[in-house]
């Protein structure tokens, strides 16, 4: 417990500071969103665009949980907790895509004939 007055005021200061952190972050995120939109119109290789898009949304994702959701200032345990969910959720998504992307999973049937 940090009951003492000095700590309290330091905390208050920290809060003041966070106002600017939040606003600046929001600006950066807005800019990244703009870049995302831009990049899809760039004459670049597909894989590069996909990588860029993924990277940018990952940056945004991490920034939001780290700053807005103040994981940065919270107990590390919360980060671990969320990351477990993220890894299992994301891993499952990825595995499902791999499984369905495999040759054996290419759909066959009247609904798919034209592409077959």
């Amino acid at each position: 417990m940090s009951d003492s007055a000095s700590v309290a005021s330091a905390e208050a200061h920290a809060h003041e500071g966070k106002f600017h952190v939040f606003v600046q972050l929001a600006m950066i995120l807005a800019v990244i969103t703009g870049l995302e939109l831009l990049v899809i119109y760039m004459p670049l290789a597909n894989w590069l665009i996909i990588t860029l898009l993924m990277a940018m949304s990952a940056v945004k994702f991490i920034a939001v949980i780290w700053i807005f959701m103040h994981l940065k200032w919270d107990k590390r345990f919360l980060t671990v907790l969320f990351v477990i969910g993220m890894i299992i959720g994301g891993g499952t998504l990825w595995a499902l895509l791999l499984l369905h992307g495999a040759k054996d999973s290419a759909p066959v049937g009247p609904a798919y004939e034209e592409l077959g």
């Binding site: 054996d104 999973s105 290419a106 759909p107 066959v108 049937g109 609904a111 798919y112």
Partner: protein, 438 residues
């Protein structure tokens, strides 16, 4: 033993079976049925069995070791009396990393022993081996609720509406022996699975998916198969047979199959001569197999192919049957290539007379059983779509006028307008007609 014995002497039967049950493995009787996975007749099933044996041995050995230690521990450290129980507690030890580690390593090694043959077999059983690909024979198996359609994509036959289409058959798949067969698995409704235990493990037939399996019967033979994925009300009785023939026999069989349906001509004024036995009423879910057939299935199959000699058939009855086939709207659902049958909702009946089973491998194709099926399909196969013809609307399934239903209370037929009602006379005629389709 015919199962009719069951209804006659349920008691004796019960004790008999109990006795048999108590003589387990000794006779090997628990593992030698027509769908035994141990009695393998082809390389795919063989490979799968070998993998099973590896897993069996490894786990049995581990079980023996771990089990003995566990049994010994329990016996050795058991408190034998109250004094023992209240004795000073034993040393409060917390574990031994070295023991843990070595056991982990041992487990991993045991798993490697299983994994190596498993991986090899996964690749081997997946598809026809590269070097045999060109001699592989291809067939399509298509699942329907609750029967199988088989197509021979390489064997074209002329169609009633013109053009050519692959040869079609149902519920009995005839394949060449000694040759890999690649089966393309499709379904028109829900998921089914194609399983002939003695030849190969199962692979599912999944909508919008292009599955396949391969199998090979080393010798000619007659094999039992079964749908092995729950597919609705009558999943249990969605069965089929596979008949493997020597190369020549197979070629002959194909030749015959490609011809239009056999026609028995009757003179204008011919009279029905044959007696029409009274089959009485049938039990629900009554057995439809016989020991005589099972004693030599392959021989019986061959006998079924024979075209009856002149005089053994009753042409007039057959002609009546052919008319009844049209009048009762059978022709709308069933194909009899060359005759009036034009439907493709139900199994192709062009050669139904030479198939050993009806109702998807459920009943032996005797006149009695055939009669039973076409007069009272509901008593044979619950929910089947010959009895209830169906249309599927967005709101669910609607049953159309079909076979007449029975009043559940009285057991009497209660026809509603438009229903098919096969009278005993028509029934016998239909049986004769269908039997003539060889």
């Amino acid at each position: 033993m015919r199962s009719s014995v069951l209804t006659e002497q349920p008691r004796r039967r019960f004790w008999q079976m109990l006795l048999v049950a108590l003589i387990p493995l000794l006779s090997g009787g628990w593992l030698s049925g027509p769908q035994s996975t141990f009695d393998t007749k082809g390389p795919v099933a063989e490979t799968q069995l070998e993998v099973f044996y590896v897993t069996l041995w490894v786990t049995m050995i581990i079980f023996a070791i771990v089990g003995s230690v566990l049994a010994y521990t329990t016996w050795k450290f058991k408190a034998r009396n109250a004094a023992d129980e209240h004795a000073e507690p034993p040393p409060q030890g917390h574990g031994n990393p070295l023991v843990e580690l070595s056991l982990i390593v041992a487990s991993i090694l045991a798993l490697v022993v299983i994994a190596v043959p498993t991986l090899k077999a996964i690749w081997y059983t997946y598809d026809v081996p590269e070097d045999q690909m060109d001699m592989a024979y291809e067939v399509n198996a298509i699942g329907y609720q609750w029967w199988f359609k088989f197509e021979y994509p390489t064997e074209m036959t002329p169609q009633p509406f013109g053009g050519e289409a692959p040869l079609v058959s149902a519920n009995e798949l005839v394949i060449p022996a000694g040759r890999p067969v690649r089966v393309n698995l499709r379904t028109v409704d829900v998921i089914h699975s194609f399983w002939v235990p003695k030849l190969a493990g199962k692979v599912d037939m999944i909508p919008n998916r292009g599955n396949h399996l391969w199998l090979q019967a080393d010798e000619p033979g007659y094999f039992w198969g079964q749908c092995a994925e729950f597919c609705g009300e009558s999943h249990a009785v969605m069965r089929f047979r596979v008949i493997a023939l020597a190369e020549d026999d197979f070629a002959n069989w194909l030749e015959n199959q490609k011809l239009p349906a056999r026609t028995v001509e009757a003179a204008e004024d011919a009279e029905i001569l044959a007696a029409m036995p009274d089959y009485g009423t049938f039990e629900v879910n009554q057995a439809g197999w016989s020991e005589e057939f099972d004693a030599d299935p392959m021989g019986n199959w061959e006998a079924w192919q024979e075209i009856p000699a002149e005089g053994e058939e009753d042409p007039a009855l057959i002609a009546a049957g052919r008319r009844a086939f049209v009048e009762n709207r059978c022709a709308g659902c069933h194909m009899v290539r060359g005759h009036e049958g034009m439907g493709n909702i139900g199994p192709d009946l062009t050669r139904i007379g030479s198939r050993t089973t009806v109702a998807a491998g459920l009943l032996e194709n005797t006149p009695e059983n055939l009669y039973r099926w076409i007069t009272e399909p509901d008593r044979v196969k619950p929910g089947n779509y010959m009895y209830h013809s169906r249309i599927v609307t967005p709101k669910g399934m609607v049953t159309m006028p079909g076979y007449t239903t029975r009043d559940p209370a009285t057991g009497e037929r209660a026809p509603s307008p438009g229903d098919i009602e096969v009278t005993p006379e028509e029934g016998h005629a239909l049986v004769a007609y269908l039997k003539s389709l060889k």
